[in-house]
Symmetry: C2
Subunit: 341 residues, 2 copies
DNA sequence: TACATAGAGCGAAACGTTTCACCCATGAAA
DNA sequence: TTTCATGGGTGAAACGTTTCGCTCTATGTA
């Protein structure tokens, strides 16, 4: 039904090889170039990527596996990933793991069957075992956001520990000593941020009562309940660190329902995207992750690996030194922190 | 590098045809079946979908084009779509149009080049022209959420008009007469909801002052500002209809920052997902869209079309009667509406 | 003039499947 | 005994590209 290269051959009288050369940007006489272009136009010809893929053994398709597609963080990253991949002619096959390691493993196998040229993975599992089939097939993988303990895996992440450290430092610099943390220990990013917070508190010799440590998961509910509980304490904190977007959302809701004001009664600093800073009042001080940059670097790194693979540049057994790219989250100014004492 | 059907042939002594038959679920002697299975296991064989696709001219891939991947509504729909497609062995290639009609058109062409078997589109353009190349190639398309004026296009959507009508009716039934609307006219769904609201107000002979009509877009900002303005009016409304998720988010934030309480001072009813009902207090009354059902039906319909296409069941020129599936949004109970007067 | 060189084009083989038409037993029905 | 269907199996031709090695012509160089 659809036009093929052979139709163009019949129309122009040129050979298949020449037409193929044209399609792949080779040199030919302007005259022939013209002919081919006209044929393509009138025939509505489009390259059949499956045939091309069969011979080049490249699908020009990247598998993307995300821990949860239905949240804003993931959505934003996917948006940027899509952009950069498209620029390079790659399509993204996106699979959602719904925070389920079993589903995640299935996703990886599924994409492998689809012959993707590479994968970008935001993992849910803490153990890299599920990537074994990918590595065995020498398909390049780049992790995002969450590193895994395997020396063969590249990763693009954010300096969670340092950024969280700096965030709490800011609170301390403003004179706060009663600092509460609402964060998560269910994922590595949360753990790292927590570590950063605690490190600073230790460095500054600031004691944190048990009741100020609200460690749960990255959910609206956890943020909401934790903030409610904090506000009920006899000795309320004067400042709170909020570990991610969902936690911020929940915590701010709880605060707004209370009689307390930010920053007069409570200073806030948050970690994550900046959409929220536009809507919350006063504007929140935030450690902002460079999502766009992360996506760009992940794509760049993955495409580099793919290229290395094709040119056999990789060492014996497809082993190369893995790269861990750590991008800095920057503190964006706002008005949610008041001087204390 | 990777094992092929030919390796299996060499290992088992069977013919290519027989092995292919096995792969596609044909009948063979248990003995041979056994042999093949062992060969597959030891060779780590996996079907090369590109070769298969080339001869069957099926990629087992569906293109999904969404107006904006970075919001929760889209994310949730994508999650469900992915599930159902996967069940049928299809992968999803997702493209984000970033609310830009130009990008949308590019996305469609790009996916066409990738030889997708069908497309699911949540469109940004109001004009169906950008789907022309798809229709010309006889690739089935199913629209979601937003119908387009073209008799050849199937669509799965929600009864926005009726649900909005019912939502406002509920407010009226509770005795409210000063009802404000925060909604959008920039997309067809918003327009339909608006129409539903206005129809009821007309039926009940309830007058709406200009200042109660907050028509903008489906954004947090619009919800936030509109609510602020409504609360500043000398004659405040006693109830407000909130047109979608983002508007709810913004409006509730603004309300929480104000001295007014819901539902004592202001009754609320919202349109969209139910994540928010868990977090807002009091629990919001919502017209909930059956997102899961929508995804299921869209996939079912699309796969039906693909099947019809293959079996040549479609009428001359690939014309069949299009289907517009309208699913009911249901009002979910909550506590955000108080009796009035 | 002779000779190398580069550019443009060509034919044919390959990529890894599916599928068509055909073959051969085997066993049941006539 | 012949005929016929049936189940399991086969070889070879597709599918639509890319790519390898070759030819031919024109151009520049000695």
């Amino acid at each position: 039904m659809a036009a093929t290269i052979r139709d163009i051959k019949n129309m122009t009288g040129l050979s298949l090889a020449t037409i193929s050369k044209y399609l792949n940007g080779g040199n030919l006489l302007p005259e022939n170039r013209e002919k081919i272009e006209e044929a393509i136009r009138t025939l509505h010809y489009e390259v059949n990527e499956m045939a091309r893929g069969l011979v080049t053994s490249q699908s020009k398709t990247i598998g993307v596996v995300v821990f949860d597609i239905s949240n804003v963080f993931t959505g934003t990253v996917l948006q940027y990933l899509g952009e950069y991949l498209r620029e390079e002619g790659y399509a993204a096959m996106i699979c959602d793991s719904q925070n389920d390691p079993v589903l995640e493993e299935q996703n990886v196998r599924f994409l492998l069957g689809k012959k993707v040229d590479g994968m970008i993975v935001m993992p849910v599992a803490q153990d890299p075992g599920f990537l074994e089939p990918v590595l065995r097939n020498h398909i390049p993988v780049v992790l995002m956001d969450r590193p895994l303990k395997d020396s063969r895996l590249d990763c693009v992440k954010v300096n969670n520990r340092e950024a969280a450290y700096d965030a709490v430092k800011l609170l301390a610099d403003y004179g706060h000593r009663r600092i509460a943390l609402i964060s998560a220990d269910t994922v590595i990013t949360g753990q790292e941020r927590l570590e950063g917070c605690l490190q600073l508190l230790k460095d500054r010799k600031i004691r944190v009562p048990r009741s100020y440590m609200k460690v749960g998961d990255h959910s609206i509910g956890h943020g909401y309940r934790s903030m409610q509980e904090l506000l009920k304490l006899k000795e309320r904190p004067t400042a709170v660190f909020l570990g991610n977007f969902e936690i911020i959302l929940g915590a701010v809701m709880a605060l707004n329902e209370s009689p307390y004001q930010c920053p007069e009664d409570l200073s806030l600093i948050g970690f994550d995207d900046l959409i929220i800073s536009n809507l919350s009042k006063p504007k929140l001080v935030l450690a902002v992750q460079p999502l766009r940059k992360m996506a760009e670097e992940a794509v760049r790194l993955l495409l580099k690996r793919i290229d290395q693979n094709r040119n056999g540049t990789d060492k014996e057994d497809g082993q190369y030194e893995h790269e861990i790219l750590v991008l800095p989250a920057k503190i964006a100014e706002g008005k949610s922190i008041a001087r204390c004492g």
